[in-house]
């Protein structure tokens, strides 16, 4: 490694790397979680601004397309986007559902599974999934691997970018920039346990307010996420701008990246070896000497004739 990683000891998973990463010091590291309480968000986008500020990102000024989403999608320069949804509930009331969309920091990240470049994607003991631009080759496999459509490849430097959960801030004991900036307290940050407790009490509160289906979004299909939501309608995550109901690493990605590749690699080696051993046991395929003489005799014969 080239000293480009903030804290080597705390890497617990590394892309395209089979041997285990250092884990001895895991014991002292608690997993962190960012809690996004959708029911409290007013859509002011302070968090988006704080994200750009802290990470020195300046996206191009876009165009208004008739909705509040701005920019309309994630980009290499916009690691989070507020997504606005107008939803008519069962009673016919209009609800404005605003979801902060960013990397979910899966416990079992699809990007990390797909990435072919050793160390371009790492996961720290505290659960944060980080891209290391130094090792990224810009192949875009992480885009195919992600169940949440998060990574974006830059047209400027052909490297993959996404929310880091402010891993740099967190390493120094600070909360992520978005958390710091939120005026309503809808983004909270702490240990996984604390955040679940908080989310639970918010859910109960929402139940009391008549949102019977309020609940926590912490999808099991990806081993849980280190960014969790409190949703008013946890039974229908799709209404929050297509939040997947049961996200998991696509079976296509599993088939592509799972056991088939090591097996195929071994098969390629064996194929070459088989050739060598075949040669060593059966010998080359040659034309027997007699046949040469035969054909030659016939030739000379014919030539004598003419």
């Amino acid at each position: 490694m080239r000293g480009d990683q903030i804290n080597l000891q705390n890497i617990t998973a590394r892309s395209a790397t089979s041997p285990p990463s250092p884990q001895v010091r895991d014991g002292g590291v608690e997993r962190v979680t960012k809690l996004i309480d959708v029911s409290r968000c007013i859509g002011c986008k302070a968090c988006q601004v704080a994200c750009s500020e802290w990470n020195d990102l300046r996206d191009d000024v876009g165009e208004c397309v008739g909705v509040y989403d701005n920019p309309v999608d994630l980009s290499p320069n916009s690691w989070e986007v507020m997504r606005f949804n107008e939803y008519e509930d069962e009673q016919g009331n209009l609800e404005w559902l605003i979801r902060k969309d960013n990397c979910m920091h899966c416990a079992e990240p699809g990007c990390l599974e797909a990435c072919p470049a050793p160390g371009a994607i790492v996961q720290y003991a505290n659960g944060i999934v980080d891209f290391n631009s130094e090792h990224c080759i810009g192949c875009g496999y992480c885009v195919a691997g992600c169940p949440f459509d998060i990574p974006r490849i830059s047209k400027k430097d052909s490297k993959a970018y996404k929310c880091t959960l402010c891993s740099d801030r967190v390493f120094h004991g600070l909360e992520p920039a978005c958390v710091k900036s939120c005026p309503t307290g809808s983004i909270m940050f702490g240990t996984r346990e604390d955040m679940h407790e908080l989310a639970q009490s918010r859910t109960e509160y929402l139940h009391g307010r008549g949102f019977e289906n309020a609940g926590i979004y912490d999808p099991e299909g990806v081993g849980g996420t280190h960014v969790i939501y409190v949703l008013q309608h946890a039974d229908k995550p799709e209404i929050y701008n297509g939040l997947p109901n049961d996200p998991r690493i696509s079976p296509l990605v599993d088939a592509w990246k799972g056991v088939t590749k090591p097996l195929a690699s071994v098969a390629i080696g064996l194929a070459a070896l088989t050739g060598f051993f075949h040669y060593a046991t059966q010998g080359p395929k040659e034309v027997p000497k007699e046949e040469y003489d035969e054909v030659e005799d016939a030739e000379t014969h014919e030539e004598d004739r003419t």
Binding site: P118, V253, K261, A267, A271, A272
Partner: protein, 224 residues
């Protein structure tokens, strides 16, 4: 005169066929090495051959398109010689005899034997699939425009078909080492009559018939 003529033997692959074959062969090996580097970390070291990991990623698809163009030409030119005939099926049934060098038991075959024809057909299937799926996953030019399922399918198919093509390539290269004279045939273009008769008797007979007819017509002209 007769001596040098015998040395020259029968023309098996003309200069264009040879040039084209080796252009494809070199590109293909480069594709295999650069592709494998991304295929599994086992092979990550191959990135050193291409100027580093990023250059490997950038170069691979361009070599792929380059190779595909020349392959298309070869596919057309070798098409007729690669159609599977009844004797090819028999030859395949006796694959054990083939592998144990019991050549005297094998049925005579044409310009290509069934093994060579299979290599042809597997590649005729693989290269277009690799080209299409390769374009689908090609960053930064095309991949961003692809729906996610297509992207995943493209990556999956590219890897699987590449595996098929690599195994086929290994068999193909090994045959060139194993069957003495076949490598020479693709380098020099010509084979001895004995070699042709032994390995591709039907083709040899055809060539001999041609020669005889040519001679006869020459004789006829001379006689007039």
């Amino acid at each position: 005169m007769s001596q040098s003529k015998k040395e020259r033997g029968i023309l098996r692959y003309g200069w264009f066929s040879r040039l084209n074959h080796w252009t494809i062969a070199i590109s293909f090996v480069l594709l295999v090495l650069s592709g494998l580097a991304l295929f599994h970390p086992f092979f990550w070291g191959f990135t050193a051959l291409f100027g580093g990991p990023i250059m490997t990623r950038i170069l691979h698809p361009f070599i792929g398109v380059f190779m595909s163009v020349f392959f298309a030409i070869m596919a057309v030119r070798f098409f007729k010689d690669s159609l599977i005939k009844r004797h090819d099926i028999q030859w395949l049934k006796q694959i054990k005899d083939v592998l144990s060098n019991r050549d005297e038991k094998l049925p005579p075959v044409g310009k290509s034997n069934a093994g060579q024809k299979l290599v042809y057909w597997i590649m005729v299937f693989s290269v277009p699939v690799l080209l299409v799926t390769g374009v689908i996953i090609w960053q930064p030019y095309f991949a961003d425009a692809m729906p996610i399922t297509l992207l995943r399918l493209g990556a999956l198919l590219h890897a699987f078909v590449a595996f098929l093509a690599i195994i086929t390539l290994i068999i193909h290269i090994y045959s060139g080492i194993w069957v003495k004279g076949s490598f020479q045939a693709m380098v020099r273009g010509r084979v001895s009559k004995a070699w042709a008769k032994h390995h591709h008797d039907l083709w040899y007979q055809e060539k001999m018939d041609e020669e005889r007819r040519r001679k006869e017509s020459l004789d006829r002209i001379a006689g007039q």
